[in-house]
């Protein structure tokens, strides 16, 4: 036995710290080798004018000041915010409720779970093409269906006002991943708590409200933080759908810049306009924004997230 006989408290804490760093070491190593270099490089680029083919030219804060005066920066930021404000809460609640439903001990529940999981398994290219077709006003299947209900469907991806709702619907279809995480969390709720609740005579709703919900706050927290980070960096789906647009469709970010998400505009600056320095500036500004929101959520987590195995004094 090594540790328990040591009298000095300092040593114990030091030992614990060393163990901590030892376990974290793989990540730290990888961070140093693969991540920190490119990250710092992009930070450097944000203070330069860099067109990739010639050397970066230092211009100080000029990119940042230009950014503030760039109408498209604000436009893309607002589109991203609006999408996040809708898709994030909807996605979180929707996937949680489905996970609760799928957590029942019903015959064949495995098959149902697989069905709900299926959409998130399909390759992005296929999903985008599929939904482009489904949503298409002229040659799709959604609008004829709506017509049968007497509703005239909008242009969806070809209508600047309806492109984002279409994207939200598409993202809700693919929440399978979130559902799995919630399911894992729900599975991890100790059954003795439910037993105790039943003994006390709690209804299903009460069991949900006072056992399930609090005990799954760790995974809710996870999905919230990653959901935030993900929706702010929304890119791939829009890229696949609108990069097929010809000139008349407004190209990437169309129609009429209604899907010009922040990362799309960033991508264009980086790889189409040869403004890699400016793109790096955009990246770091987004970083600050997302970091800010994340820290807020972390700070708030003490009030609403419950961990059974949380260490004191953190």
């Amino acid at each position: 036995m090594q540790s328990s006989l040591k009298p000095s408290r300092l040593s114990l804490a030091r030992r614990e710290s060393l163990w901590a760093y030892a376990f974290i070491a793989p990540w730290i190593l990888g961070f140093i080798i693969f991540t920190v270099g490119p990250m710092l490089a992009s930070l450097f680029f944000s203070f330069t004018e860099y067109d990739v083919v010639s050397s970066p030219r230092w211009i100080g804060l000029k990119n940042y000041t230009n950014l503030i005066h760039d109408e498209l920066f604000w436009h893309s930021l607002s589109i991203t915010f609006r999408y996040a404000a809708i898709a994030l809460p909807l996605g979180l609640v929707f996937s949680y409720l489905i996970a609760v439903l799928l957590n029942q001990k019903i015959r064949g529940i495995n098959i149902w779970r697989t069905v709900y999981f299926l959409p998130s398994v399909i390759a992005g290219v296929a999903v985008a093409l599929l939904w482009s077709r489904i949503f298409d006003a002229r040659s799709g299947i959604l609008n004829p269906f709506l017509a049968q209900l007497g509703i005239k469907g909008p242009g969806w991806f070809s209508d600047p006002d309806w492109a984002i709702p279409a994207l939200v619907i598409m993202s809700l279809w693919g929440v399978g991943g979130n559902i799995i995480i919630y399911l894992a969390g729900l599975q991890g709720v100790p059954t003795d708590l439910y037993d105790a609740a039943k003994v006390d005579g709690a209804t299903a709703w009460q069991r949900f409200r006072y056992v399930t919900l609090p005990m799954t706050t760790p995974v809710i927290f996870y999905n919230l933080v990653l959901g935030l980070i993900g929706t702010f960096q929304y890119f791939t789906e829009v890229y696949v759908i609108s990069s097929g647009n010809s000139g008349t469709g407004g190209g990437l970010g169309g129609p009429a810049r209604s899907t010009l998400f922040y990362n799309i505009y960033l991508y264009q600056n980086a790889f189409r306009y040869f403004h890699m320095g400016y793109a790096s500036t955009m990246a770091w500004v987004l970083f600050i924004i997302v970091l800010g929101f994340t820290l807020l959520i972390f700070r708030s987590s003490d009030t609403w997230v419950y961990y059974e195995g949380q260490l004191k004094g953190r």
Partner: protein, 353 residues
């Protein structure tokens, strides 16, 4: 640490059983309805995968693959309609369009006799036409077998590396106190807050200098050094496991590593399964990084190969759907199998201490 409080209330114990049956019934109904809606796009995907280009053009596209029935008249294939002439219903072919939405129809048995009728009043005839050959053709064109090997290698070796490294790192972040640990955790998360587009070129330069471009290494090796998503998830799970278990192990003389392996990880099985599945999915479908690092088609993964159908002038939607349909099989089978371990997972009986 506060337990969720259970305020004693008055409940009707016998009504619970009835309630529970009803609730399960309602739940099943909702699940089934939702599943039906979810499946519609998927069915549409399957239907698209067995159509040929002519069938793809139909709008709106039928869920069941149909094709327009044609008949040969004077050496040309003409579409067949069910026409109504003075109350008599026969089948005729449309041979020529006339002004005003009318067309010339002929009875195939008497091709010289033409009738001019309004096209919109007639019904085009269709028949079931399923092109199963799209599947072998799509797989052949994208060189499925070779790419499958690459993809399996990347996926499974990466998964092993990820499970290994992320378990260690998550354990470090959740079960210990150390100076700057919180800061390091935020740093870990911050690595995914920076849009990857701006790291792409410097990372490519790095891998190029290592000589790893056009190999599978950039996709595999970094997995052995943990990543924010999986560490974060595992950390959340580890933090739901009561500390009493750790303490019990320590009293039994276990080192932290042993505690991890014999106490924590078994408890966290649902989480481990989840991250394994996620990693599988990610590696299986990811094309963003492989597209940059893999030059020769022999090294491509399946997701990259799928892009070959998305060419500039010819989007072969049917082949894309066919190939994608085949590609979803391994993840789905894996998920289905994993379910067993998933639900067997944690039946925690509790430690009173």
């Amino acid at each position: 640490m506060t337990h969720p409080t259970m305020t004693p209330m008055r409940f009707n114990a016998s009504g619970i059983r009835g309630q529970s049956f009803l609730l399960k019934g309602i739940a099943t109904l909702i699940i089934a309805a939702g599943a039906a809606i979810i499946m519609i796009p998927f069915l549409f995907m399957l239907s698209t995968s067995v159509k040929d280009h002519a069938q793809l053009r139909q709008s709106p596209p039928p869920l069941i693959p149909e094709a327009i029935t044609t008949v040969e008249i004077n050496g040309q294939e003409e579409p067949l309609y069910q026409v109504n002439i003075d109350g008599q219903i026969t089948e005729m072919a449309l041979v020529k369009n006339r002004p005003g939405g009318k067309g010339l129809f002929v009875d195939p048995a008497r091709p010289d006799e033409t009738h001019e009728l309004v096209i919109a009043d007639q019904t085009a005839l269709t028949h079931l036409e399923v092109h199963w050959e799209n599947y072998p053709e799509a797989l052949r064109q994208m060189k499925f077998n070779k790419l499958l090997l690459n993809t399996l290698l990347v996926t499974f070796v990466g998964m092993a590396g990820m499970l290994f490294s992320c378990s260690l790192v998550a354990y470090g972040f959740s079960r210990f106190r150390a100076p700057w640990l919180n800061v390091l955790f935020i740093l870990l998360l911050s690595t995914i807050m920076l849009p990857s587009q701006v790291r792409l070129l410097p990372t490519y330069v790095l891998f190029n200098k290592l000589g790893w471009v056009d190999t599978l290494l950039p996709l595999i090796v970094p997995q052995f050094f943990a990543n924010a998503y999986d560490v974060f998830l595992l950390r959340q799970f580890f933090m739901t496991i009561p500390l009493e278990l750790d303490d019990a192990a320590k009293i039994d003389g276990a080192s932290p590593l042993q505690t991890l392996m014999y106490v924590i990880l078994p408890q966290a099985r649902p989480a481990l399964i989840s991250v394994a599945i996620f990693h599988f999915l990610y590696a299986w479908n990811d094309f963003y990084e492989p597209l940059i690092y893999l030059h020769s088609p022999e090294h491509w993964t399946l997701a990259v190969g799928l892009q070959t159908f998305n060419a500039l002038y010819a989007v072969n939607t049917n082949y894309i759907m066919a190939a994608s349909a085949v590609m979803i099989l391994p993840p789905i089978i894996l998920y289905f199998l994993a379910q067993r371990i998933f639900t067997q997972g944690v039946v925690f009986t509790g430690v009173k201490g």
